[in-house]
């Protein structure tokens, strides 16, 4: 594309709009990141009249904060496991639904629905599904798989599993649609040629479908990871971070530190840590997946 077209210099109106857009973005993204960085060096607390510069004390506290360690490891494990599960499920689901008859078109339409609901609704619907007198226990009892209702959200391990299941459900709506779109861009000639060469179904999947899906998978995995690192509203509605903080994501921990404990300074330090971790993961994974696209 050429950048020759820069025709009229004396045309400030469009430039003015651009300045407003850029200014708002700087004011509500860049400046807040800078302010967080600054506040993370203070002991700011809305209940105190003054805040003091305390250097790296908040960051030293990060190292010894076991609540942070467990929330960060919960967030990272969730991000990794749910991203893998949701993308594998999305690829499988997309291949299964990749037909054009009316019934398949309807199935493709409803597969996206979990993405349409707000996280708050998703959280509450599943809270009912997982309840002691909820439908999951009802079904499993009817099938004779369990004799006693299971407390899906009551014990730390099961609650983590339940949160992961719900997050994977929501994300699979997205990964399915992205991979369906990617599937439709694969030329049929590739499959025809492979058939002529005697390639079986698995070989065709392994060497054609999976590889040609790579650009779609890059987008899908990156967005899944970013979504998981931000995870807040599903957890707020489903478990509130419990039991015993087992499902407290780092985003939820920041919110609790800031709005329940009134520790703005320390919350900002945790926020800077989450930002650094998110940036490192997003950049390295995108880079890795892009390289994979080329290699494939």
């Amino acid at each position: 594309m050429t950048t020759r077209a820069r025709p009229r210099r004396g045309d400030p109106a469009l430039g003015l709009i651009a300045v407003v857009a850029l200014g708002l973005y700087v004011l509500f993204i860049i400046v807040p990141v800078g302010m967080s960085a600054w506040k993370s060096l203070t002991d700011e607390n809305p209940l105190m009249a003054q805040s003091h510069f305390i250097g790296l004390a908040n960051y030293r506290e990060l190292l010894h904060d076991s609540t942070l360690a467990s929330s960060l490891s919960f967030t990272l494990v969730m991000a990794a496991v749910v991203t893998i599960v949701a993308n594998a499920a999305g690829i499988g689901f997309a291949i299964l639904l990749n037909k054009t008859s009316l019934s398949f078109r309807m199935m493709r339409a409803v597969a996206f629905l979990p993405q349409v609901l707000s996280g708050v609704i998703v959280g509450f619907v599943w809270r009912y599904i997982f309840a002691e007198d909820g439908i999951l226990n009802h079904l499993l009892t009817a099938l004779g798989i369990i004799s006693q209702p299971v407390s899906w959200l009551g014990s730390p391990d099961l609650a983590m599993f339940s949160v992961g299941l719900v997050a994977a459900w929501v994300l699979t709506g997205f990964t399915t649609v992205v991979h369906l779109a990617a599937l439709q861009s694969i030329p049929v000639e590739l499959y025809q040629a492979a058939t002529v060469d005697g390639a079986g179904r698995w070989q065709q999947f392994r060497w054609i479908t999976f590889r040609m899906l790579a650009p779609g998978t890059t987008i899908s995995v990156t967005i899944s990871l970013i979504t998981m690192l931000k995870l807040y509203d599903i957890i707020a509605a489903l478990t509130g971070g419990g039991p015993a903080f087992a499902t407290q994501s780092t985003a939820l921990y920041i919110i609790n530190l800031a709005f329940t404990d009134d520790r703005f300074g320390y919350a900002s330090a945790v926020a800077m840590l989450l930002l650094a971790v998110s940036a490192a993961i997003a950049l390295s994974v995108t880079g890795l997946l892009r390289r994979r696209e080329v290699d494939l």
Binding site: R4, A5, R6, D11, A13, L14, I17, A18, A21, L22, L24, Y25, F28, I29, V31, P32, M35, S36, F93, L96, N98, K99, M107, A109, V110, A111, L113, V116, L117, S118, G119, V122, Y128, I135, H138, A181, L183, S185, P187, V188, E189, Y191, A194, T195, R201, T209, P215, S220, L229, Y232, A236, T250, A251, I254, I255, A258, A271, L275, S278, A279
Partner: protein
């Protein structure tokens, strides 16, 4: 990505024609059955939300999966006749927030992206990278400073403040990305011809670029409406509990009270979900066109 023949695309997964002609009817019936079963299981939570909204508490407890027989409208009428009118107020406040945010984001995002096409390639790359960061930053990281900034201009805990933070935040990033991607496919000649005719750039933008960008505007409108409608953290803390509720924060507050009254819970949830779900079902073609455009880039 290289596409050999864009006209002929694989509509179906690979089936070797020679070997499958014989088994085809059975294979394809099995395929349909498997797909249908899996899809049904996948959307069963949504099915539960719909059917249980029309059942009484005892019907829900005894047969949670059964269709409502006989259906009752009591849950919905009760949800709508709450003394705090939380459903009506929430729907209203969310609608106002979505419309006000979009009315600002769309022209700002489109004009900014158009302006960006007239800068040097290097400058454009840097700006787009900076805007890309906005899509990645977890909202919890910038929430406290955002409230602080809004309080400096006395807009904290107000709807204008919420709208302003929507306009300036990650949503603008998304709009700029969609518009910039789309503008790459707009032939420069059209715009240059208009410039030669002596039209000012604001006029070119409004009269020529905006109509060309209509599909991108559809994508931006659809996705941002959904995201802003469903947003929870920002209204929860930027508005705070005293300044009325959007549909998500109202839902969160009111459903906390119904931990075991499932009939009430599903009544309120149905009313809160019905608008985005209906909107999606009506506009699903545009939804997926937007996602597809995003994914192929």
């Amino acid at each position: 990505m290289t596409v050999l023949t864009p006209q002929r695309r694989a509509a179906a997964p690979p089936t070797a024609p020679s070997q499958s002609t014989k088994r085809r009817p059975w294979a394809s019936r099995g395929h349909l059955a498997a797909a249908a079963l899996l899809t049904l299981a996948f959307v069963s939570p949504i099915y539960l939300t719909i059917v249980n909204a029309f059942k009484t508490q005892s019907q829900i407890i005894q047969n949670p999966e059964a269709p409502p027989a006989p259906p009752t409208l009591q849950n919905l009428t009760e949800a709508l006749s709450r003394p705090d009118r939380i459903v009506q107020i929430g729907l209203m406040n969310s609608a106002v927030t979505v419309v006000a945010s979009l009315v600002l984001i769309i022209p700002l995002g489109a004009a900014f992206s158009f302006w960006l096409t007239r800068r040097s390639a290097g400058f454009r790359r840097i700006v787009l990278a900076v805007f890309g960061a906005g899509l990645m930053i977890p909202p919890a990281v910038i929430l406290l400073p955002t409230i602080r900034i809004l309080s400096i201009v006395h807009l904290d805990h107000t709807y204008p403040g919420l709208v302003l933070s929507n306009v300036g935040g990650g949503y603008l990033s998304f709009a700029v990305f969609v518009y910039s991607g789309f503008l790459r496919s707009v032939p420069k000649e059209i715009i240059e011809a208009a410039a030669v005719d002596g039209a000012g750039s604001l006029r070119i933008w409004w009269k020529i670029v905006m109509p060309l960008l209509r599909p991108a505007t559809a994508t931006v409108t659809i996705f941002l409406s959904l995201w802003i409608w469903n947003d929870f953290m920002n209204p929860q803390f930027i508005l705070g509990p005293l300044k009325g509720q959007t549909i998500t924060t109202g839902l969160y507050l009111s459903l906390g009270q119904y931990s075991t009254n499932y009939a009430q819970l599903f009544g309120v949830m149905f009313l809160a979900a019905v608008i985005p779900v209906a909107g999606y079902l009506v506009l699903q073609k545009q939804f997926r066109a937007g996602l597809t455009a995003g994914a192929s880039r």
